[in-house]
Symmetry: C2
């Protein structure tokens, strides 16, 4: 039995875009499970843009990562050895776990998943935090109605791709904004969006006017910045803006400056609301049920960009800020046995 | 009987801050009331910052004023001659009427007010649109709770002064931001605010930290601009921002630029909502009743800056953008007889 494993630690805080120099891979003992604990082998690691915020030493909705400690995120793992009556060897579980090849977890820190109804990785994407983020942000704040126009930025990403499909299920006219022709094609041909804009090659403000002839009722905000600025002049009365992410600003060293939004909000009586998925923890069951139903009905598709090998975890994280991924970014560390 | 009167027309659209050159005072016949109409003598004219927006040729929540037509706003008037069974000579009414000394109005365009329970001018201020704007914006969107911290900008103005007092009635810690030491004194000594900041002489961001030791739960937005920018870093989780006005930007010729707010809204799950009082038209009765009750109980004070004489109406409007008024700006055109 092996006794050593690899771990990934944050060794200094990124100033702008994170680089490999911010992290260190070290060898460390796996350790032993005590009573009520389980030894887990890491299967999939979720890499997410919000982790960038936790690398700053700043107050936010989750505490910052500590220096010289491991990064942690959503992880799918398999029980190797159990000292808990709740789990047995071979169980597949989901939890917030450190970036390492093996973890010792308390029995209440993870929950079992059923990977016969969907692949285990789906519990990090469409059936996990990103699917639930799309679900609650869109339906609880955005409240799209049939015939309304819903625009989503970061549309080919983990959250955006689900947002657009749920809006289609609700009968809305759905427009996606993304960063490549490949993504635009994916949105139109795979996900059934009504229109899609490549912000790198097209004039977003101008194309939005053409593809939103009735204005914009819901804007699901994933990116912030200039793309977002183009939305405000097109808002209809009583528009809703769930503010989920602002990836364009995460690596800014200086203040993120743009047109102030107050005037637009007043003119249209529109609402902007920031949220994080934790706000909805008491309602996860409701969302997970609808998402699973739509998935099995074939109404919801999901895409994953899977990077193979624990050694490439940092690369997979850094790739998030290059804008090349489609769907959910996941690192595959081992096979389920 | 006199047959001619003065009227004020918009003759060209202001590019930045309005000036006298945008308006013209003309003489015109008073006209005659037809069946179902009443002849009204103007008593009080309401001058309001939102009228500036209607002077632009731009889509907003109210249509723009037409060139070479009269400005109109909230007016208190007295019936001189009635061809309606609903009104008799001497009745005092409230309506949206043109800026002129006499008006012919259809009987359904105005409503009678009872100026024995409060001075007639109060129906343009605390018991009128500005009181209702404060009431619904603060209570329906801001939802202040006892012990929470409420900050209001434009705090000595028509809306802000009522907002702060209602927040005090609800048991909140109330901080006002205003533009002179006289206003600060008024907020602290007359209206019972817990703290007040003179943004012209004090560092708003720094003083806010001192007077809001528990952060900010509600920010009632009247001004926009740099004052508003100082609020966002201090927002508590689940803060609410009713966006009522952005007077600092009304006269901007160029885009109003500042720190983007998305990141702050995400970190704190905060809400910003634009509104106009028309959204609440079905609930005016509810607000008017509470405001009148608080007024008679002495819990609500109101201040008016009254300019005497129809000839000074334009001056009174232009003064709004100088930031010198306290409370509601009103022009007194004639006495109630």
């Amino acid at each position: 039995m092996i006794s050593m494993q690899k771990q990934i630690k944050l060794i200094n805080r990124p100033k702008a875009t994170p680089t490999k120099k911010n992290f260190e891979m070290v060898n460390a003992p796996i350790g032993e499970a005590s009573e009520g604990e389980i030894l887990l082998k890491t299967v999939y690691i979720s890499v997410d843009p919000y982790l960038r915020g936790r690398m700053n030493d700043a107050k936010s909705y989750v505490p910052p990562f500590q220096l010289n400690e491991m990064i942690s995120s959503g992880v799918i793992a398999q029980v190797v050895f159990s000292k808990s009556s709740l789990f047995k060897k071979g169980d597949v579980v989901l939890g917030s776990l450190p970036w390492q090849e093996y973890s010792i977890a308390k029995e209440n820190a993870v929950r079992k998943i059923d990977h016969t109804i969907a692949p285990a990785s789906a519990y990090l994407s469409v059936l996990g935090m990103t699917g639930l983020t799309a679900y609650f942000g869109l339906l609880d704040i955005g409240k799209p109605k049939a015939g309304e126009t819903v625009v989503v930025s970061g549309a080919a990403g983990a959250v955006g791709s689900i947002v657009g499909q749920i809006a289609k299920i609700k009968g809305s006219h759905v427009v996606g904004i993304a960063g490549s022709d490949e993504k635009v094609k994916f949105l139109l041909e795979e996900l059934g969006f009504d229109a899609a804009i490549n912000y790198k090659t097209q004039n977003v403000a101008q194309v939005l006017k053409e593809v939103c002839p009735n204005g914009i009722d819901v804007y699901f905000e994933n990116v912030g910045g200039e793309i977002s600025d183009a939305i405000f002049p097109l808002l209809n009365n009583f528009a809703r803006i769930p503010v989920c992410g602002a990836i364009s600003a995460y690596n800014n060293e200086h203040a993120d400056v743009g047109p102030r939004v107050q005037g637009y909000l007043i003119k249209t009586s529109s609402l902007m609301q920031g949220f994080t998925i934790g706000n909805y923890s008491s309602r996860y069951g409701e969302g997970a049920k609808d998402l699973a139903t739509w998935l099995t009905q074939g109404k919801l598709k999901y895409e994953e960009t899977i990077t193979e090998g624990f050694d490439h975890t940092i690369d997979a994280f850094l790739d998030l800020f290059k804008g090349t991924n489609i769907g959910k970014a996941i690192v595959k560390v081992s096979d389920i046995e």
